[in-house]
C-alpha cells in the first residue's frame, strides 16, 4: 500500500463484513495520505467479540508503532472498548489497523467486524507550538497551505534561501496602493545595525499623499551647538519640487500633507546609537480644482463645496438660452477636473436663442409686438394686406418665439395663418346721388 499513490480518503472493512468474520484472523491495513496531512478515521460500525481488554478479538489502531486505541464490543455492549462515533486523528500521515481474532466465536451472537472511513486532513503547521529549545518554523510570518506551509517576512526583510529565515532588506519599498502602512525595520524594537532604507510612495497623478506618523516615533538626534540635529540617524522626506526635510528626535511629525502624488522616505541609521524607528499610515486624496464659477442665464451642476479630481460638472442654460463656446453652439457641456488641478474645458456661455426670421405671409406681413432680433419670447403679429386680404375668422395671428426655437401661436400652431382675398368689396363703390 505504501508504494501506491497516497489516497485522500478511503474505506476499511473487516473480512466478509457485513457477514460474520472468521476465527483465527490477523489482517493489517497500512493507511497512507500525502505529506502535510494527517488521517482522520471514523468507525461507522464496529461489532467485535467483547472481552475485557479486548483480549480475544480486537482491532488495534497504531501510529508509528504507538497504539492509539484497541477496540472490541459494540455500541450496546457493557464489556469491551467501543470507539463510539468520535473520529480518531493520527499525528502523521500514516495509520496502521490490525484486526486479530482468536480461534473461537460466541455461539449465540455472530459478530460482523467493522467498517471505517478515513480522510486526509490538512495539518496547520503554523499553529503547532514549537518544540522546546527549537526555533519556530518561521521566525516572522508563517502561512499555512494545503499539505505544507510557507514562510514570509515583514517589510524591510526578505526571505533567505533556506526559505525560512529573514534577512534585513529595505531598499525595494514601492507603495502604489491608495493607502498603506510603513514602518522602519524591526519597529518598534531598535535595530542594532546600520540601515539605509528607501521607501517610495507613488500613486497616480491627481492624488496627493498624506503621511500620518504614529506617536511612537524615536530617531536618535545629536545635540550640537545649534541644538538637536539629525546627524547620524534620520528619516528624510523628499517631495518632488518641494525639497527635502530630515526628521529625527522623539516627537512624532504627526500628519504631513505632501500635496504631491510621490513621496520618497530615506531612513538612515548607523550602527551606533539607539533608534526605535517609526511607523506611519499613508492615505491619498484627490486634488482639487478651482471653483468653476457662476453662469449668467445658466447653472453649473452639481453644486459642491469642493471639486476634486475626476469630478464632472455639467452646464445647463435656462429655458430659452443655448450653450455657446467660441462662437459655436454646443449640444451639451461637461468638464472634468483633471490631475493638473485644472478643468479640461473652460465654462461655456449661455446665449439667448432665436427663432430665425418668421415665415413670410403671402399678401401679408408681420410686426414685432415685443422682443427683438427674433429672440426667445419675442412676439410678432401677422397681418394681411387689408382691405384686399384678411384672415379667416378666429385665425391666430400672434406668434411667440418658443424655447424650441419655433414661432408658435397660443393654439400651438407653427404655420402662419393664411391671407384670404376679400371678395366683392369695391373701394370706390358705385354710388350716385341723382334720383
Amino acid at each position: 500500500l505504501l508504494e501506491t499513490e497516497p489516497q485522500m480518503y478511503g474505506e476499511v472493512r473487516s473480512p466478509l463484513y457485513p457477514q460474520p468474520y472468521a476465527p483465527n484472523l490477523q489482517e493489517q491495513w497500512d493507511l497512507h495520505v500525502p505529506e502535510g496531512f494527517q488521517i482522520r478515521i471514523t468507525f461507522t460500525h464496529l461489532d467485535i467479540e467483547a472481552s475485557a481488554g479486548c483480549h480475544y478479538d480486537a482491532l488495534t489502531v497504531l501510529f508509528d508503532g504507538k497504539v492509539l486505541g484497541k477496540f472490541c464490543g459494540n455500541e450496546n455492549s457493557a464489556d469491551g472498548n467501543h470507539p463510539g462515533s468520535e473520529p480518531l486523528l493520527s499525528p502523521g500521515n500514516t495509520l496502521t489497523l490490525i484486526f486479530k481474532t482468536d480461534s473461537t466465536n460466541p455461539e449465540r451472537h455472530q459478530n460482523v467486524g467493522f467498517l471505517a472511513h478515513y480522510q486526509a486532513i490538512d495539518i496547520d503547521e503554523c499553529a503547532a507550538e514549537p518544540e522546546e529549545d527549537k526555533e519556530p518554523l518561521c521566525p516572522q510570518i508563517c502561512l499555512n497551505t494545503l499539505g505544507t506551509y510557507m514562510c514570509s517576512c515583514h517589510h524591510g526583510y526578505k526571505l533567505r534561501s533556506d526559505q525560512r529565515t529573514c534577512v534585513l532588506s529595505c531598499n525595494d519599498g514601492l507603495f502604489s496602493e491608495p493607502e498603506g502602512h510603513l514602518a522602519s525595520p524591526g519597529y518598534p524594537n531598535p535595530e542594532h545595525q546600520a540601515l539605509t532604507c528607501q521607501y517610495i510612495i507613488s500613486v497616480p497623478a491627481g492624488f496627493t499623499v498624506s503621511l500620518n506618523f504614529s506617536d511612537n516615533f524615536q530617531i536618535e538626534s545629536t545635540i550640537t551647538d545649534q541644538g538637536p540635529e539629525c546627524l547620524y540617524h534620520w528619516l528624510q522626506v523628499t517631495i518632488p519640487g518641494r525639497g527635502t526635510v530630515k526628521l529625527c528626535g522623539e516627537k512624532s511629525p504627526g500628519l504631513i500633507d505632501t500635496n504631491s502624488n510621490t513621496v520618497t522616505l530615506d531612513y538612515y541609521i548607523d550602527s551606533d546609537g539607539w533608534s526605535r524607528g517609526w511607523s506611519l499610515d499613508y492615505s491619498t486624496h484627490r486634488v482639487e480644482c478651482p471653483f468653476p464659477g457662476t453662469l449668467t442665464n445658466g447653472r453649473v451642476t452639481p453644486s459642491l463645496s469642493r471639486y476634486l479630481y475626476r469630478d464632472y460638472i455639467y452646464v445647463r442654460c435656462d429655458t430659452g438660452y443655448k450653450l455657446m463656446m467660441d462662437g459655436e453652439e454646443l449640444p451639451s457641456f461637461s468638464a472634468m477636473c483633471q490631475s493638473n488641478r485644472q478643468w479640461h474645458l473652460p465654462l461655456p456661455e449661455c446665449h439667448i436663442t432665436d427663432c430665425g426670421e418668421p415665415k413670410m405671409l403671402l399678401n401679408g406681413g408681420f410686426q414685432f409686438l415685443s422682443g427683438m432680433h427674433n429672440q426667445y419670447q419675442s412676439v410678432i403679429e401677422y397681418h394681411c394686406n387689408e382691405p384686399f386680404y384678411n384672415f379667416l375668422g378666429g385665425n391666430e395671428v400672434h406668434f411667440t418665439c418658443d424655447p424650441d426655437r419655433r414661432w408658435r401661436s397660443n393654439e400651438d400652431l407653427i404655420v402662419p395663418p393664411t391671407c384670404l382675398p376679400v371678395c366683392g368689396k369695391s373701394m370706390n363703390p358705385l354710388t350716385g346721388h341723382q334720383r
Partner: protein, 248 residues
C-alpha cells in the same frame, strides 16, 4: 352697356376685359388664379379657341391706355354642357380661365364673391351689369373705351319666357330660355347689356358686398322695348366651378 354710366376708377375692380381674336368680351375675377366668363366668347365655329389667343386685362376703366403686357390664360375650361354650334342654345354658357401666376389684389384688382349655395333671385331686385361692350348714342350703337355699368332689375322668368316666345314666333332661330338662365332689364327698354359685354358680371350686393349673380350671355337686340337681357345663373354652377378649380 346701353343706357348706363361710366364707371369710376376702381369701382368695379373684378371687371375683366377679354380681347379674343380682335373681339371684346368681359369676365370677372373670382379668385387669384381664376376668371369666370361666358362659354360662347371662348368658342368659335371650329370649337374652343386657343388660350394664347385670349388676352386678359384687369384694373382698367379706360382702355385707351391698355398695358402692353396682357395676361394670357394658362388654360380654358368650358362647361362640358355647353353645345351651341348654331348659336341658338346658350344653356350652360359658362367658362373659366385659369391664370398661370396668381394675382395680387389691390384697389383696382379684386375678386367678386360667388353666390351662396341655393340662393335664388327675387324678381325686381336690382343688379348691376358692367362691361366694355357697345353703348348707344341717340339710338345708334357705338364703341366705347370706357367701362360702363347699368342697374337692371331681375325679370320674372315667365314674363321673360313669354317675351322670347313672342320673338320666336317671328324668328324660329331665337334661343330658348333654360332654367340655368335668368333675365334682367326694363320692359320699356333703354337699359341693357350689349355686344362686347358677354362674360361680364351681373352683380348684386348685400351690405356693400358684391356677389356675382349672372354672366352676360345673350339677348334680342340691345335695350329694345319688350325684350330683356339673358344671363347665365351662376348659382346653378357652384359645384362645377368648385370642382374645376379644385382639379386644376
Amino acid at each position: 352697356i346701353i343706357g348706363g354710366n361710366n364707371a369710376e376708377p376702381n369701382s368695379i375692380p373684378w371687371q375683366v376685359l377679354l380681347s379674343i381674336n380682335g373681339k371684346r368680351a368681359g369676365g370677372m375675377i373670382i379668385a387669384d388664379r381664376w376668371i369666370l366668363t361666358a362659354a360662347h366668347v371662348l368658342t368659335s365655329t371650329e370649337g374652343p379657341i386657343l388660350s394664347n389667343n385670349v388676352r386678359i386685362f384687369m384694373g382698367l376703366t379706360v382702355i385707351d391706355t391698355l398695358p402692353t403686357s396682357a395676361v394670357y390664360p394658362a388654360s380654358i375650361h368650358i362647361h362640358p354642357g355647353y353645345v351651341n354650334p348654331g348659336l341658338v342654345d346658350f344653356n350652360n354658357d359658362i367658362a373659366l380661365l385659369r391664370l398661370e401666376h396668381p394675382l395680387t389684389f389691390s384697389i383696382s384688382v379684386m375678386p367678386i364673391c360667388l353666390p351662396e349655395g341655393g340662393s335664388t333671385l327675387v324678381n325686381g331686385h336690382m343688379g348691376i351689369v358692367s362691361g366694355f361692350g357697345v353703348t348707344n348714342d341717340q339710338n345708334r350703337k357705338i364703341l366705347t373705351n370706357r367701362l360702363k355699368y347699368v342697374e337692371l332689375p331681375v325679370v320674372d322668368q315667365e314674363i321673360c319666357r313669354a317675351s322670347i316666345a313672342a320673338e320666336r314666333s317671328k324668328n324660329p332661330n331665337t334661343p330658348l330660355l333654360s332654367d340655368n338662365m335668368f333675365c334682367a332689364g326694363f320692359p320699356e327698354g333703354g337699359r341693357d347689356s350689349c355686344q362686347g359685354d358677354s362674360g361680364s358680371p351681373f352683380s348684386m350686393s348685400n351690405n356693400n358686398r358684391f356677389w356675382a349673380a349672372g354672366i352676360v350671355s345673350w339677348g334680342i337686340d340691345c335695350g329694345r322695348e319688350g325684350t330683356y337681357g339673358v344671363y347665365t345663373s351662376i348659382a346653378n354652377y357652384l359645384s362645377w366651378i368648385n370642382k374645376t378649380m379644385n382639379e386644376n
